[in-house]
């Protein structure tokens, strides 16, 4: 089958690959580029485990064709920690016991990051709305909501 070139920025580094036309961004990231932090839970856009950030927008990588991402700036949970220091969201998820099986966690964190980038001081309702596309089957939602609110407070204290 004919291959098509794709080139984008992933967590700050340039990536280029030849992929089969029709390959999802999820499969391109996981199988070709080796970033397995986005997870495939349903491959039909309902569970949110594959969530990534494309040009600042939260996107489902299982419903995004890789070839539409040429030139894009893509961020995943694997790229959040800087110099080995956890991002405040990661730290808050750790401290708040907001992970159980961990499979939804990278998607949850990307969804939360897009929220905090736009709404640095979100209400509880804002957080619930922002995470509403992400399923935690272990049903640990409450600690996740608390973690996002805690990370927001930590951010605003650092900014002050």
């Amino acid at each position: 089958m004919a291959k098509v070139p794709v080139q984008f920025t992933l967590n700050g580094s340039e990536k280029a690959e030849f992929i089969e036309s029709g390959t999802t961004l999820l499969n391109a990231l996981r199988d070709k580029i080796g970033d397995t932090s986005p997870k495939g839970g349903c491959h039909q856009g309902t569970c949110g485990a594959c969530s990534v950030i494309i040009d600042g927008e939260l996107r489902l990588s299982c419903l995004t064709l890789a070839e539409t991402c040429n030139g894009a700036d893509i961020k995943t949970t694997a790229g959040l920690a800087e110099g080995g220091v956890l991002h405040p969201l990661q730290r808050a998820f750790l401290d708040a016991f907001a992970t159980q099986c961990g499979f939804c966690t990278p998607g949850m964190i990307t969804a939360a990051k897009v929220l905090l980038d736009r709404t640095p001081n979100p209400s509880r309702e804002d957080v619930v709305e922002a995470l509403s596309g992400n399923i935690c089957r272990c049903t640990g939602y409450e600690p996740i909501i608390q973690a996002v609110l805690t990370a927001a407070r930590a951010n605003s204290q650092n900014a002050a």
């Binding site: 996981r30 970033d35 397995t36 992970t99 089957r137």
Partner: protein, 455 residues
């Protein structure tokens, strides 16, 4: 978090180092950084993808299987049928002598539930495997099917599973697991009131976010490494060894990281056929359930029917309990004979009742095989028992919590299945629940104890 040290203070040393202390989870740093390696995060060059051809019928004889078109499909490397599997008929619990072997890895001559695996297709891409699977031709003769447990137990019902010969699991105690304690009929004769109620549940899917699957890599030394999200590593390794007729030393299982299990990943379903595929092709193999397969094919919690007849006195004592429980195993045993047996021990509930009669049946139907899920054999029973307890309390005009205090088991009480009660904390849990829920009970119940004599 609040640790209530006033409960059991006189029987506990207080030098607690870990209990009551928050401790970080060791796996959490991997989860928040996306570094935790789930089985599907393993990727090997040249990896093949396995897709299953499944039965569209609930019950049918297989007249013939034609894989010739599928084998010609571009990208297909190998097509597997029952005759490729060295020991095709197995049952998971044979490891603890719960037989007979009653389930096929790939259907041989017959299918017994809609969705049963018939032919495995291995191809270069998922898409090629899927397309080729659609080209496998299976000629079925559809047979009458039975979906209701009581219908399945009637004489003349279609026999679901010939390895059993009848539509129930034959325990060493006969057609059901039995508990007999005291004289249940004498208890009913003595009771002020008798209440008989029937409770039913449907199958429940665990719906883990990570679907069932494994990745198998052949190693250079004739061993196979299987990366799996099984919840039962050694059950799976040992059953794979039996099915493949390979010594366990040839199999290296890597796992323990599960993206949600809830009991849904304790069956041995994907690993043996994936290892066989890797052995016969010499290539790595990935077999991952689609979301649809996870919801429709993986074992759910069994449907249950529970009939409870209780005799109760006006003063609140339950003096007789008779329970008949039915567990719908679906077409194959998997863990259900064990689940039904657990129910037999459990149905008196955490209550001391002097006259008990219990029969629990593990029934075969042409439904999706059921298996483990969070307290299987017990959870649905608890729903039935506690609804029954509320109904009994209402019947005699008693507060439902006080009614439970009167009947709660305490240390030293003999349970119906002849295990003496030890370490019961029900009284204390209910005392704390009474406080926390602001549901007051009489002072005499707050002074009760699970373990202090006379209290």
């Amino acid at each position: 978090m609040e640790l209530r040290k006033d409960y059991f203070a006189d029987v506990r040393k207080d030098g607690l180092n870990e209990i009551g202390q928050p401790r970080p989870r060791l796996d959490s740093p991997g989860h928040v950084t996306g570094k935790t390696a789930y089985f599907a995060d393993r990727n090997f060059p040249g990896m093949l993808h396995l897709k299953m051809v499944r039965s569209p019928h609930h019950h049918a004889r297989i007249r013939s299987i034609d894989t010739s078109e599928a084998e010609k499909h571009p990208g297909v490397v190998r097509v597997l049928t029952a005759r490729d599997v060295p020991h095709n008929v197995y049952t998971i619990l044979i490891l603890i002598q719960v037989g007979p072997e009653d389930e096929t890895v790939l259907a041989d001559g017959k299918v017994r539930w809609k969705g049963e695996a018939v032919v495995a297709v291995l191809a270069e891409t998922e898409r090629a495997a899927q397309e080729a699977a659609a080209k496998v031709k299976v000629d079925y003769e559809v047979l009458p099917a039975v979906f209701d447990m009581e219908e399945a137990l009637k004489p003349g019902a279609p026999v679901v599973n010939e390895y059993h010969g009848q539509n129930y699991y034959l325990y060493d105690s006969g057609e059901c697991r039995k508990v007999r304690f005291g004289d249940v009929e004498a208890g009913f004769a003595q009771a002020d009131h008798i209440l008989e109620q029937s409770y039913q549940s449907s199958p429940i899917e665990h719906a883990p976010t990570e679907t069932t699957g494994c990745v198998v890599a052949p190693e250079g030394n004739d061993r196979f490494t299987c990366y799996t999200n099984t919840q039962a590593m050694f059950f799976t390794l040992d059953n794979a060894s039996i099915i493949l007729q390979m010594p366990g030393s040839k199999l290296h299982f890597v796992g323990g990281t599960v993206g949600g299990g809830f009991g849904g990943k304790v069956d041995v379903i994907v690993e043996p056929i994936a290892i066989l595929g890797a052995k016969l092709t010499g290539r790595p193999v990935s077999f991952v359930y689609s979301r649809e397969e996870e919801m429709q094919i993986s074992s759910p919690r069994a449907a249950e029917k529970i009939v409870i007849k209780d005799g109760v006195m006006k003063d609140g004592r339950i003096v007789a309990r008779k329970v008949t429980g039915y567990t719908d195993a679906g077409a194959y045993s998997r863990h259900s004979p064990y689940g039904a047996q657990k129910g037999a021990a459990h149905y008196p509930g955490p209550y001391t009742i002097s006259n008990v009669w219990i029969d629990t049946y593990c029934v075969y139907t042409n439904r999706t095989p059921s298996s483990a899920m969070r307290g299987f054999g017990v959870t649905i029973g608890d729903f039935a028992l506690e609804v029954q307890m509320d109904k009994l309390a209402r019947l005699i005009g008693m507060d439902p919590l006080e009614f439970r205090f009167i009947n709660a088991y305490r240390d030293g009480d003999m349970k119906a299945h002849r295990q003496p009660t030890e370490g019961a904390a029900l009284i204390e849990c209910m005392q704390e629940a009474s406080r926390a829920a602001n549901w007051p009970v009489a002072e005499k119940y707050m002074a009760m104890s699970s373990y202090r004599k006379g209290a």
